[in-house]
């Protein structure tokens, strides 16, 4: 059962990611990214991260991607053109990406025995567990995030507002 769910949603993930790559229109890419994010949230559930699974849908698919779609609509972005620059990126980039994947996947596969396996319920983090660590041990990073958000607000105001 676990394996079946994993395979189904992993394939959805990969399909969505590849579709993001292949689509020419940014809206299609954005929608495929939402597919990736939503299927990832199911995988989070399988790994026992129930709070993150919901946050993934609410924050990522709900807020961030809606912002993306909104900007695409606002700027009325059309299909991307194939230009000279992309040819160079194909020749130089694709081998690099393949090498990166080979290194990462090779490392993981080499160490597969030390990782073992997991199934639903093997490790379950409740929201309570999460908040105990978040609001105690990691309180300072949590507070510092407010500075980050302040910077983001300032940036949005400075960049998007017209000079008067």
């Amino acid at each position: 059962m676990n394996v079946a769910i994993f395979i189904l949603f992993a394939l959805l993930c990969l399909g969505g990611a590849l579709n993001l790559l292949l689509q020419r229109h940014p809206i299609n890419s954005a929608l495929s990214l939402i597919v990736v994010m939503s299927s990832l949230s199911v995988l989070y559930l399988l790994l026992g991260a129930e709070f993150l699974a919901l946050a993934q849908i609410i924050v990522y698919s709900g807020a961030i991607m809606v912002l993306f779609v909104f900007v695409i609509m606002l700027l009325n972005a059309g299909e991307e053109e194939r230009t000279h620059g992309s040819r160079a990126a194909y020749f130089a980039g694709i081998p690099g990406v393949l090498a990166l994947f080979a290194v990462l996947a090779g490392t993981f596969v080499t160490l597969r025995l030390s990782f073992g396996g997991t199934r639903l319920g093997a490790f379950l983090v409740t929201t309570g567990d999460l908040s105990r660590v978040l609001f105690r041990n990691l309180l300072l990073p949590f507070e510092v995030t407010s500075v980050l958000i302040l910077v983001a607000i300032l940036g949005a105001v400075v960049l998007a507002r017209k000079e008067h």
Binding site: T107, L111, L150, E163
Partner: protein, 508 residues
């Protein structure tokens, strides 16, 4: 406080460990609040002065931290010690000088001057936090604060065509780099089960999978390499430095880099200290590539800002040479180099901001012809910074290079030092070409836009930097002692707790 309190330790609030950051944040908030009540179209200079006072307070608070026993606070997320104080002082001074340079720079050109000061203060908060975090989560959040504020600052000349372009290039490549850095952290967590640098060090020493650790360090190095513009991850540097406003370039080519190098030092010597063989070859290759690509690239540039961008890549390479040296020496050399490089580079970009004006129409090599006649004082200051960048004795650059290369030779990396010296020779050529252009080329008829006159704040900033360049070049001792005390905190948390060196150093 989670560590056991020993009787000798006086009880104090953990907030003192992040006092400079708290002061910076509060000043930033204050600037934002006052900005809201100021009338539009009035001078924003009072805000700049508030920001400067806040920065001075933060610098004083950093010095005060030297008197605290080194240790961690907030459940082991931050650690204040001589090392963090050293980098706090470097960053604080860079921010102070940048604020002085910018005090008149943006007046009348943009309606977001108040936001500019707030962004610099918040960015500085992030950079300072980076240098005292010993928890990778904390490093990540503060790295993002520092990066996001610099992305915005790079695009501050909104009416120019190049500034938004610089901003988007910096943003895209910076976020790309962050993703690599994060993947490195994830792998590190996967190998050791923790994101705390001391726990990671324990895991590394106890034989966590070397393969996974190597890939983890490689990914983190890629991420930080982008941020400090090390070859081969330097492609964004010339474009961003050319497009961003010159005072901002002075800031972003030094302060975030100092913070990122501090993080790299903490990760390399602190967390991966028992696995030097893992990262030494990677660092070696990147040092050679950065020095060579930076200097060769600078040779071909006709635009002074682009030339200095390539030179900053080369300087990041020299700094990385120090990483190949053994622990206390290498850390001290790298720290000292950061300070020396900051003084001369902020100065060089400050002079460019003055000579080429707000619109930066005059940044090509030929525009600097005969500058010595028209602006003798500015040209003299520029000459000091360039001579220091070459590394001529009695300037900061000389001792920076001297310590780095001696550290490398003493640790058996003579070849790297030889390569570095060869590179310095190549570098001398393009700096001297600019100097010759300024001093030797006959004066052209004065142009109509040459009415720029320096403001007191700008003159003060340049005076501070020229003095710093000479002070570091003639009396490097005290700064080096502080850098050494910082390096000594890496011998282990136990040793760091009983630290008295820097206090003696101040009372000397």
């Amino acid at each position: 406080m989670n560590e056991p309190m020993t009787p000798s330790m006086i009880a104090f609030s953990p907030a003192l460990r992040i006092l400079p950051e708290i002061l910076m944040t509060l000043t930033g908030v204050l600037v934002m609040l006052v900005e809201a009540v100021l009338k539009p179209r009035t001078s924003r200079k009072p805000l700049g002065i508030v920001a400067i006072l806040g920065t001075l307070a933060a610098i004083a608070a950093s010095v005060y931290q030297l008197f605290l026993p080194a240790g961690t606070a907030f459940f082991g997320t931050v650690q204040s010690d001589a090392f963090s104080v050293f980098f706090h002082l470097v960053i604080g001074c860079i921010v102070l000088v940048t604020l002085l340079i910018s005090l008149d720079y943006f007046e009348g050109h943009t309606s977001f001057v108040g936001e500019y000061y707030a962004l610099i203060l918040f960015g500085a908060t992030g950079m300072m936090l980076m240098t005292c975090s010993v928890e990778l989560l904390m490093v990540f959040i503060s790295l993002e604060i520092s990066s996001i504020s610099t992305y915005i600052l790079a695009g501050y000349r909104k009416r120019s065509a190049t500034s938004p372009e610089a901003s988007i290039k910096y943003f895209l490549l910076g976020s790309f780099a962050t993703a690599f850095f994060l993947y490195g952290i994830a792998l590190c967590f996967g190998a050791t089960g923790s994101t705390n640098l001391y726990e990671i060090a324990k895991g590394v020493a106890d034989g966590a999978s070397p393969l996974l650790l190597t890939v983890a360090f490689g990914m983190m190095l890629i991420g930080l390499g982008f941020k400090v513009s090390l070859a081969p991850f330097h492609v964004w540097t010339p474009d961003v430095y050319e497009g961003a406003p010159a005072p901002v370039v002075g800031l972003m080519s030094t302060a975030p880099k100092a913070a990122a190098f501090a993080v790299l030092l903490r990760i390399a010597y602190g967390a991966f200290g028992t696995a030097i063989h893992i990262w030494m070859p990677l660092v070696w290759i990147m040092a050679v590539l950065s020095m060579t690509i930076g200097n060769l690239g600078a040779l071909t540039q006709r635009n002074v800002k682009r030339m200095l961008a390539y030179s900053s890549i080369a300087h990041a390479g020299y700094l990385l040479v120090a990483f190949t040296a053994l622990a206390p020496m290498g850390i001290a050399a790298a720290s000292f180099y950061t300070a020396a490089y900051a003084a001369m580079n902020v100065g060089a970009f400050g002079i460019i901001s003055y000579l080429s004006g707000y619109n930066e129409a005059r940044t090509s090599l030929s525009d600097f012809a005969g500058i010595a006649r028209r602006h003798p004082v500015a040209a003299a200051a520029f000459a000091v910074f360039l001579i220091s960048l070459i590394g001529i004795p009695f300037t900061a650059g000389f001792f920076g290079k001297f310590y780095v290369f001696t550290a490398a030779i003493n640790s058996g990396n003579a070849w790297l030092a030889v390569l570095g010296l060869l590179n310095s020779g190549v570098a001398a050529f393009y700096y001297l070409r600019l100097l010759a252009q300024m001093y030797m080329v006959p004066v052209e008829p004065p142009r109509e836009a040459d009415t720029a006159h320096a403001r007191p704040a700008f003159i003060l900033a340049m005076a501070i930097l020229v003095l710093a360049v000479f002070a570091l070049g003639i009396f490097p001792g005290r700064i080096l002692d502080l850098a050494r005390a910082g390096a000594a905190t890496f011998s282990g948390p136990a040793n760091a707790a009983s630290q008295t060196v820097p206090v003696a150093l101040l009372r000397r």
